[in-house]
């Protein structure tokens, strides 16, 4: 096995050193005023993976190393907040998009050893009621967004061979459900009437759409072999509710 090295020091040697030395080795060659966190994380990842390969247990001092890395990150964030916290939060919110599942980060406090436990308080009935109002607001925004997506769908009136594509797809899905009411798996070839190349391509596209929407599941064991179609159970069906609603809306 090729011996892995970080900053010219072998992993085995690095594993024996003090945590501070480990950190110095990991950051060697970096500008102390401008540490590249991604590079550092990559070096650390290699280091930890190597420890696992040697079947060592990751010792407690590595937890300390992690905490120091986190401190570097926290301080970087703290500096960012001082620049323009509101702007930064706005940017993050915009990037995340789904504000429902996004919580504004809490500004890091002065890092002190030993670290004090931050108590997680219980939630009050007022919090619960407030959360309910928020959930309703988000839910309304979500349904508005979904209905706008349906309205803006550029393929809503798309036709293929004189037929609306969505109607064709819905009709195919109904046909698949009928077939699968009597059996568990359906062969793609059973969906063909004429069997010529043009029909195969058309049907294949429709099947792909249904698979993408989560309404059916396709499996092909080998290239160019038969495609086996099944209907997913419970969760996957629920996941595709939006698609069903969109189909209904049309």
């Amino acid at each position: 096995m090729k011996e892995q090295k970080i900053s010219g020091i072998s992993i085995a040697e690095l594993a024996e050193t003090e945590w501070k030395q480990t950190l110095f080795s990991l950051t060697e060659g970096m500008d102390p005023w401008n540490i590249d966190i991604s590079e550092l994380a990559e070096r650390y990842r290699i280091y930890v993976r190597s420890l696992r390969e040697f079947d060592f247990e990751i010792p407690g001092r590595m937890v300390v190393t992690c905490s120091v890395l986190l401190r570097i990150k926290a301080e970087a964030l703290d500096i960012a907040y001082k620049v323009d916290r509101d702007k930064l939060l706005e940017e993050v919110e915009g990037a995340v998009g789904e504000e429902d599942d996004w919580e504004p980060p809490i500004a890091p406090e002065q890092f002190m050893m030993p670290v004090r436990r931050r108590p997680h308080r219980q939630v009050s009935v007022t919090d619960l009621k407030r959360a309910f109002v928020d959930a309703i607001t988000v839910s309304r925004r979500r349904s508005t967004r979904l209905s706008e997506q349906v309205d803006d769908d550029p393929f809503a009136d798309y036709e293929l061979a004189g037929e609306n594509v969505y109607e064709r797809i819905n009709s195919l899905f109904t046909r698949i459900k009928e077939f699968l009411s009597a059996r568990r798996i359906l062969s793609f070839f059973r969906l063909l009437d004429r069997g010529d190349k043009a029909e195969r391509v058309e049907r294949f596209l429709e099947v792909l759409h249904l698979d993408t929407a989560g309404l059916i599941r396709c499996e092909q064991e080998e290239f160019f072999s038969d495609i086996l179609i099944t209907i997913p159970v419970i969760k996957d069906e629920e996941l595709s509710e939006n698609d069903k609603n969109r189909a209904k809306a049309r």
Binding site: H120, R121, S124, V125, T126, D127, L128, F132, A135, E241
Partner: protein
């Protein structure tokens, strides 16, 4: 002055419960005060004394028990006034929103919740089930979700009707 004997043990339990980030089991508490495993009864007596002291009207916290685990919490009536001091909640905001929707419409199917809250709420439901705040029973191809006794205990409610979500909110 350093306390000895029973007083010291009770103080130790109080300190442990104050500091612990999660509910502590009777076994762990016994270990902290150096009691042997067969002396669980002694631990329970101390906890009972502590609970009595904290239940006095002038105290702001109380001792709670879930099965065989114990923890300290702020009394419900004071929680809103001091909540901002501890920004970390033990139920995250997205999960709490899912819980609120379940509580308001309980019982409600998982598919309805997914329709309103999106696919991420499968994870929320899983977390809430793990915390025993809701229970699920099979309902066709989906699950019917109900709030539990533990939910009522957590929020200090006698029954779900005490929540009184307004009709407008229930839309």
């Amino acid at each position: 002055m350093i306390k000895t004997g029973r007083k010291r043990d009770k103080s130790l339990l109080e300190a442990a419960l104050f500091l612990a980030a999660k509910p502590l089991q009777r076994k762990e508490l016994a270990k902290i005060i150096g009691a042997k495993s067969h002396r669980y009864q002694y631990v329970e007596e101390l906890l009972s004394d502590l609970a009595d002291e904290l239940s006095a009207a002038e105290r702001g916290i109380e001792l709670q028990q879930i099965e065989k685990s114990y923890f300290l919490q702020v009394k419900e009536e004071y929680l809103d006034a001091v909540a901002y001091l501890a920004p970390y909640q033990d139920i995250s905001r997205p999960v709490l929103r899912t819980l609120a929707m379940i509580a308001c419409n309980s019982p409600i199917t998982q598919s309805e919740i997914v329709r309103a809250r999106g696919n991420k709420c499968y994870k929320h439901v899983e977390q809430l089930l793990n915390r025993n705040l809701i229970r699920a029973e099979k309902h066709g191809r989906t699950l019917m979700l109900h709030v539990t006794e533990e939910f009522l205990r957590y929020f200090g409610l006698q029954n779900i009707n005490e929540l009184q979500f307004s009709e407008m909110e229930k839309e």
